[in-house]
Symmetry: C4
Subunit: 225 residues, 4 copies
């Protein structure tokens, strides 16, 4: 029997443990988390809790019962499902929570992110595309403008996911205006103030990454002069 079941049982479809399951199914249909790839965490600010999808499982088949729950203040697990391992992404999700006060963090193995990491060097850059307006300014209220340049840092991949933490933390600090970090030959981390903002940013970024790949293939610069 797993303790802490009261933390994930709810009739409310907006409960973090249920939302994680719903969003994982959505990500699966986009091809972002096939083959157990990717992950997601939602933070419940009110109760000081962090909900985490487990490691190495089929994301589209996750049930609330499979969700880990951590206390935010001391990062202690309040709920550890039997036979499951915590996500290796956990320190990375925590980086977004502690450095940026994020409310949710999404990690995918999006092929567009991987391809952009092969086509771009230190950063992915794109400007003058309407979809950029879905992205936040981050360092000040409001959203980016159409002609703003969206810059997403690309960090090098490491053998173990946990080892990404240092580079990810550094990228977050070096690029105070970003709400995402691409990991070369790996995928992307996207966070936001709330789970819905994180979801929207992830969709908008993936749209821009996919478009960026197509523009590169056609010889069209992704940044307009």
């Amino acid at each position: 029997m797993t303790n802490g079941n009261e933390l994930i049982e709810s009739e409310n479809p907006m409960h973090p443990a249920r939302l994680i399951c719903e969003l994982c199914r959505n990500f699966y249909t986009h091809g972002w988390v096939t083959g157990t790839g990717g992950g997601i965490s939602i933070r419940d600010r009110e109760n000081g809790l962090i909900f985490l999808a487990p490691s190495g499982v089929q994301k589209e088949r996750i049930q609330p019962d499979n969700i880990f729950v951590m206390r935010y203040k001391d990062q202690e697990y309040l709920r550890t499902p039997t036979d499951l391992k915590p996500s290796a992404c956990t320190p990375l999700f925590l980086a977004a929570y502690t450095i940026r006060d994020a409310g949710a963090c999404i990690h995918t193995h999006s092929q567009s992110a991987v391809l952009c990491s092969l086509l771009f060097d230190k950063v992915f850059e794109i400007s003058n595309i309407e979809q950029i307006k879905a992205m936040p300014n981050v360092t000040r209220p409001g959203h980016m403008k159409y002609s703003d340049r969206l810059v997403i840092p690309i960090i090098e991949n490491t053998e173990k996911e946990e080892e990404l933490e240092g580079a990810l933390r550094q990228a977050i600090k070096e690029y105070p205006g970003t709400t995402a970090v691409i990991v070369r030959r790996h995928g992307i981390y996207v966070w936001g103030e709330t789970v819905w903002k994180a979801k929207v940013y992830n969709e908008a970024i993936d749209y821009l990454l996919e478009l960026g790949v197509k523009m590169k293939q056609m010889g069209i610069p992704t940044v307009k002069n």
Copy 2:
């Protein structure tokens, strides 16, 4: 409490407030409105009402309760959902209603539309493709012929969506035979006499834009000599 609830509550799945929700889910699966992009408005001629999806929300999660309702004759809002903003597309939808007497207007961030706006100059042109026969003549009854040339004007994008109004109105007037306007690096506006016609035109145009991108990539002219 939001007033005007009687305008959006209905058991009828064909009610405009419910159709907007259904079509937004459909558009989401096509990848046309991810990341809060795009929008849709339906006009109820009988009751002189305009129904509008709100600004900046996840289109696939819209509920009838989120719908704005405007009186057509004086463009006054009869229903304004709490905590939501009217769509920035509203003046553009109104242009289609007032200049063309449209019954619905769809706006998407279709990647094929964006790519065509990068591959074509002043207009997107295609001819001798069967799918063109789904398009209306506009200036006279009936549909286009297979060998007709479909011409869709491309206008330049602006920082704010509202600022597109002038160029959109001008394009509508300069191209009396068009039922759509592409916005460069942004997306497309498509309208029709009814919501179903608008939906069909939007699907047929997107098919032609996608095909146009592929033909360009293969070095095949989109207009046959």
Copy 3:
């Protein structure tokens, strides 16, 4: 009130009027019949009836009530839905029925078919692909072999769909081994002994057309020497 309702009302999901609706939804998700494109007809040999999807409607929204029913022996309509027009494909479906004794005929605006019609001249040809084994020999029992060459004739499009009849009939006769005809810049007609065979052939052919486009793009011959 439309007469002949008893011909389309059934609790049986395998009834032709219900199958047409189900298959049109399936085709829509494949992108084969968006924008009212395409069509399908099923023949009920036992009762000597032909069921036909109507012209110019959204295929994914068709209901049994929208289905036309024709008597095979004299090609007289037994059921004509109010406000709908018979499909312009009807003479083409009849060609497959009368010349080949088909049990169903599918017409799509598949982009892979259109692209192949632009990349190939008189016929689409492919060999040495396993999926070819899903195709019938037609002129003798059994299926094609892996190393057989699948040859699908390509006919020129005409302004009106009905005008295709002569060329389609000729192609069917000139290529006795084919169970499909591509129409240049238009789409494809695929038929089979039963509705399920027609569906399977259509899927297998579309797979091969899509693969053929990709092979052409990579400079790989579709026919192996």
Copy 4:
């Protein structure tokens, strides 16, 4: 009447006969088994049974009633559905069971697998992509590392599926670290210790094959130096 019905009737959605149906629908939406292509088998170790999808049917429409059941120890059919033929893949599935003690084997006509078989010679190779970590070491416990090279042998296709058995058995033995074999111009066989592992490996491999095709098209080596 078909005997052995008690072997496939179950209220448990995790019963092999029901899982095969569910997974075939999943594979269909990925485009891996359209046109009757592909197949799947699950082994019930506890009861010494093998469940097999039938030959040449629409995979997305399979019902538990269509499933063949074989006794593992003497490979005798305990259940043979009326009017259906056993899958031609059966000897290949058995090779994975007997040589590798697999718990399930999946066969698809994945276009990415076919394309990779045209772009690569004796083996498909890829390294330094995070998704590789979803793959097992096979010859020792645990999963592959990010920088490991995934090597999947490619065997030549034969006229009849059964004839692949020799080459498949040889490839399995020559490549003790592989959990999949690509068949040139045909598709792929993927197996695993359990049905879920086989499903995950198949998804991860297909992701890598798709990425491999894109990398080749962009002139990026799939193996990092």
